[in-house]
């Protein structure tokens, strides 16, 4: 049995995302939809494992906006639903979210956003907390694993009380860390869907679900926000910890609560500093805030990235100055804490120590000395594609084709593992020159080629993965075709959403729940748009670069190359070698003119190693995925491949 279904009152070690999933199940969830994105993916993945037991419908949608629409439909029909995404997914969903928040909802609906301060696995550290304020939606932020579950469950109740969507925000250190959680009861009954729409247009519960008449609905929406504030005023998720008369009050939320607690105890300030922790961060419960602001004149606000909490608190304080008097604030705005990157206990210790004039004795010098001794022994690991990764082969051919073409063409990158080609240029053989949001590569490329009228006469390529193709590329592709942008667009089709852990996508014949579903064919879509379409196996370096070179040379129309090869880590391939590879040292030219270590200096598959003493290349059998591609690059045919036995 999945631990997600553990009986009530048992204590279970849950990852933050599992705790959120359990909270949703305890709330009687019926429908879950999402788009994969680190650190959010495990919520949907876990829910997908208990669809039968809990009578759930779970799907991976093509993108976050569609996911939110799917979840909203369930809410409109009176069911409880959740929609899960990473921070920038909220941007994608935001247009619908604006209208949804205006129309109101029926069954409890929660938008779970798992965010990535410090961009550990993102190319942005976007903030979705501002969406809550901008779109007037309540925002909840759990501060530990128990809360991750409990607050999720309560979010559904809140949503139904105010009849609007609620945002629950987690961060990497919450979603991906684990802690003990005491389980609650899983409800026995499952929901029944009934969509009622024959009431008046102004009746949010019986009429059609619609955001007009705008002013009436907007007024209604703001009343909901007021109601939320009232509920927040006595919510157990907003809580004060500390002495009765602290010298300094820390106001915080999310994992920053843990960092603050740790900092106080490391500095031994338990008697001097108190913490007001908010689980409900927007709209702020001002009465509660006022009560604790009265405790002291020094306030420190601890939160990650932008000063969202700080801004809201300061705005609220202006209205209560007469009652509470002048305060001194420490936070992002005065530079006490950085407004970029992740926070950690050290940063809080440092800031807190400064304010409280307490010196923190860090570890003894001997510790640092030891670390300095050990550090060089740790093998260096560079950011790169996996052994056997099709992307390395694809970019190899893309580079060759661009060099052969000779007009200085370049590639607009996109989001997926292959974004690494932009993050560390040598990995992509210096081909990728832009990287933004999902699908942007293709849009940018079609803009770039239009600049030939202004003197930028270079061929422009765009790459995207198969999942990204469905997510956001199709409109850009249609745009390119319709506006005669003769870009060469390359789909790096590795048959799955590899970067986030092989979630299925519309190109595959299996759904999130493991059911067989129709696969949506990328080449057919591209042909239907009117593009010239070619398909190649990236492991065929010769063929791929030949095909691509001739596509790039063709001008006047949209060209698509689909490079198909399953990801090296995919369940189908993992651990299975197609070829056994070995270097013939007699033949290997090594550093000599005639090769100069092409395999280990340029191609750089992690399985290819350089023997400093023998001055020869070698294949690390353990790491080698057996794809056999390096066989084709060696000028000496010194890298030999033999078909592996089944």
């Amino acid at each position: 049995m999945s631990k997600l279904l553990s009986p009530a009152k048992t204590e279970v070690l849950f990852m933050g995302n599992e705790a959120i999933a359990r909270g949703a199940l305890e709330a009687g969830l019926s429908v879950a939809a999402g788009y994969p994105g680190t650190p959010s993916s495990e919520v949907i993945e876990n829910l997908a494992t208990v669809t039968k037991e809990r009578k759930l419908y779970v799907e991976w949608s093509t993108n976050e906006k569609v996911a939110l629409e799917v979840a909203a439909a369930a809410s409109f029909a009176g069911l409880r639903s959740v929609c899960v995404m990473k921070q920038n997914g909220v941007n994608v969903a935001s247009d619908f979210l604006l209208h949804l928040a205006a129309s109101g909802t029926r069954g409890g609906i929660v938008l779970v956003t798992c965010e990535d301060p410090g961009a550990l696995s993102s190319v942005n550290e976007g903030e979705s907390r501002y969406f809550a304020r901008m779109l007037e939606i309540p925002l909840l932020e759990p501060a530990d694993f128990q809360e991750a579950k409990d607050l999720t469950k309560w979010a559904f109740e809140l949503s139904e009380k105010i009849r609007n969507i609620v945002i629950l925000r987690s961060v990497t250190r919450m979603s991906h860390a684990s802690g003990n959680v005491i389980c609650g009861k899983l409800p026995d009954k499952s929901g029944i869907a009934r969509f009622i729409y024959d009431g008046l247009i102004t009746d949010p519960l019986r009429g059609p679900v619609i955001s007009t008449p705008v002013v009436i609905k907007h007024t209604l929406q703001q009343e909901k926000v007021k109601k939320a504030v009232e509920l927040f005023e006595d919510s157990p998720f907003n809580k004060y910890f500390g002495p009765r008369h602290p010298e300094l009050l820390i106001i915080t939320s999310s994992v920053c609560f843990l960092y603050s607690q740790e900092a106080i105890s490391m500095l031994g300030l338990q008697k001097r500093v108190g913490i007001l922790k908010f689980g409900c961060t927007w709209p702020l419960p001002t009465k509660l805030l006022k009560k604790y602001l009265r405790l002291t004149d020094k306030i420190m606000i601890v939160e990650e990235v932008l000063p969202f909490l700080e801004e809201n608190i300061k705005v609220a304080v202006v209205g209560m100055l007469k009652e509470i008097g002048i305060k001194t604030f420490y936070g992002k705005m005065d530079g006490t804490l950085p407004s970029v990157g992740e926070l950690n206990a050290d940063l809080v210790v440092h800031a807190l120590g400064k304010i409280m004039k307490v010196k923190y004795k860090s570890l003894p010098g001997s510790y640092t000395r030891e670390i300095k001794k050990i550090a060089p022994l740790i093998p260096e690991r560079e950011l790169t594609f996996c052994p056997g990764c099709p992307h390395r082969a694809s970019f190899w051919s893309i580079n060759n084709a661009l060099q052969l073409d000779g007009r200085g063409g370049f590639v607009c990158g996109d989001i997926g593992c292959y974004a690494m080609a932009a993050l560390s240029p040598a990995i992509g053989f210096n081909t990728v020159r832009t990287l933004h949001s999902m699908g942007s590569g293709t849009g940018l490329a079609s803009g770039f080629v239009k600049l030939n009228a202004f003197g930028l006469e270079k061929p422009v390529l765009a790459v995207c993965g198969d999942s990204t193709f469905y997510h956001a590329v199709i409109p850009a592709l249609i745009n390119a075709q319709h506006n005669r942008a003769d870009i060469t667009f390359i789909v790096l089709d590795n048959a799955g959403t590899a970067m986030t852990g092989f979630q299925p996508h519309p190109g595959l014949a299996v759904s999130a729940m493991g059911e067989s579903v129709p696969a949506v064919d990328i080449p057919k879509i591209c042909s239907a748009i009117g593009a010239k379409v070619a398909i190649s196996d990236p492991f065929d370096l010769e063929g791929t670069s030949r095909t691509l070179t001739s596509l790039i040379a063709e001008s006047g129309s949209l060209k698509v190359l689909i490079l198909r090869q399953i990801c090296a880590l995919s369940p189908e391939k993992k651990g299975k070698k197609k070829f056994l590879m070995q270097v013939n040292e007699e033949l290997c030219l090594g550093e000599n003119c005639g090769c100069n270590r092409l395999c280990t200096r340029i191609f750089r598959c992690p399985a290819l190693t350089w023997d400093q003493i023998k001055k020869k290349a070698a294949v690390d059998e353990v790491i080698c995925a057996g794809c056999g591609v390096c066989y084709s690059i060696c000028p000496q045919k010194a890298i030999m491949r033999t078909e592996a036995a089944e």
């Binding site: 052969l404 000779g406 053989f429 000599n592 003119c593 090769c595 100069n596 092409l598 340029i602 000028p635």
Partner: protein, 389 residues
């Protein structure tokens, strides 16, 4: 710019000093040595970055600095050397005795006849000639029989990376090699004989014969195919081409007729690199062959060649060819040699002028050494030219 000698990598120096300066002849000497350089259409392309400093690519390229004096000393008898057309042991008009062969060759078929004989008599085991594929692209190709030699006869006026074929296709099993080469290709091959790279086990020892072609220029394949298309000449139907003596046209022989393109249009297709080339008679070959220029009957003249024998090995082959009746010889009038020298001098002067214009100074002759005695002689000529004017 000054030639970037040290301490850039060989590949970077080649890029900066040759490719970016548009001095690249497309000979292919830097290609096929390693995975880094390839020829695509008639461009030399660097696929990936190589950081070696004493590489073959730089050493073999005919447009990187060379000690030409050392090369002359190595290859020729100093008594044979002339400043205008290199070493001359003997000079003839010649043609292949086989009239059928003559019909399929460019001029008198001297080149093909000599290669046939060299193969038949074991001077060489394989020959490298230039062939053209359906896409009108040229490549060196290794042949070892008569029929293949004849199939690839005739001049293609677009560039051929012939030396790349030597680098790429020759192995220990190919035996002794003979190459048909334009002057720039011949220079690249000759540079290899200087063994400029340490520990290069190379195959230069296998190179036994270079038959050079006279050369005024080659055409950029890209521009030339465009010109042909503009003139409604299909690439497939093209059988051959030549410049009839005294006329300002390029004649194009197609399957069913002969067409003419104004020479000025053709001139515009000449590769930039050829404007900086001093060699019109393949000075670094064993034998050099060009078209004959005599009398007024172009039809008759067209089927003859000029032939310069430069080395002992060349002499041996040509004499054997005459003795065995493979080549027919006609004594060349004295004026003919004078004409040739004059034309060769003209090319040298023009190229030097162009080089100085590009570098901006007579002190910087790009790939040439201004202290080289022959270069000096032409520099002086030019100086006195100026004075006399």
């Amino acid at each position: 710019m000054a030639f970037p000698v040290k301490r850039l990598s060989s590949q970077k120096s080649l890029k900066k000093g040759v490719l970016e300066e548009e001095l690249c002849t497309g000979c292919g000497a830097c290609v096929g040595l390693c995975p880094y350089q390839v020829i695509y259409h008639d461009r030399t392309v660097q696929l990936h970055y190589c950081d070696l400093e004493d590489g073959k690519c730089y050493a073999f390229c005919p447009r990187t600095p060379t000690d030409l004096n050392a090369l002359r000393e190595l290859l020729f008898n100093s008594a044979d050397l002339t400043p205008e057309i290199g070493a001359v042991k003997s000079y003839y008009f010649s043609r292949a005795a086989d009239s059928r062969l003559r019909e399929s060759t460019q001029h008198g078929g001297t080149v093909t006849a000599l290669m046939e004989l060299a193969l038949a008599r074991g001077f060489i085991d394989s020959a490298i000639v230039s062939s053209r594929n359906q896409e009108f692209l040229q490549n060196g190709t290794v042949v070892n029989e008569k029929a293949a030699l004849r199939n690839n006869a005739g001049s293609k006026f677009t560039v051929s990376p012939t030396v790349a074929a030597f680098n790429q296709l020759v192995n220990d099993k190919s035996g002794k090699i003979g190459v048909v080469a334009t002057p720039c290709q011949a220079l690249a091959l000759a540079k290899m004989k200087l063994k400029p790279v340490k520990n290069d086990s190379g195959k230069i020892g296998q190179l036994q014969l270079i038959i050079g072609l006279y050369c005024g220029w080659t055409l950029s394949a890209e521009k030339f195919t465009k010109l042909l298309t503009q003139n409604n000449i299909s690439l497939q139907s093209l059988k051959g081409m030549d410049i009839p003596a005294g006329k300002n046209i390029l004649e194009l022989y197609t399957n069913n007729d002969t067409q003419a393109v104004p020479f000025d249009d053709v001139q515009a297709c000449v590769r930039e690199a050829c404007h900086y080339c001093l060699d019109s008679t393949a000075e670094y070959a064993d034998i050099a062959v060009g078209s004959a220029r005599f009398g007024n009957d172009w039809k008759e003249m067209r089927r003859w060649n000029q032939l310069i024998v430069r080395t002992a090995k060349g002499k041996e082959l040509v004499e054997l060819a005459i003795k065995r009746g493979v080549l027919e010889i006609r004594e060349a009038p004295v004026e003919s040699l004078q004409e040739l020298k004059k034309a060769a001098m003209e090319k040298k002067n023009t190229a030097l002028r162009n080089i100085i214009r590009k570098s901006g100074s007579a002190k910087n002759l790009l790939y040439l050494d201004r202290h080289d005695p022959i270069v000096q002689k032409f520099l002086k000529n030019k100086a006195s030219d100026k004075k006399s004017r």
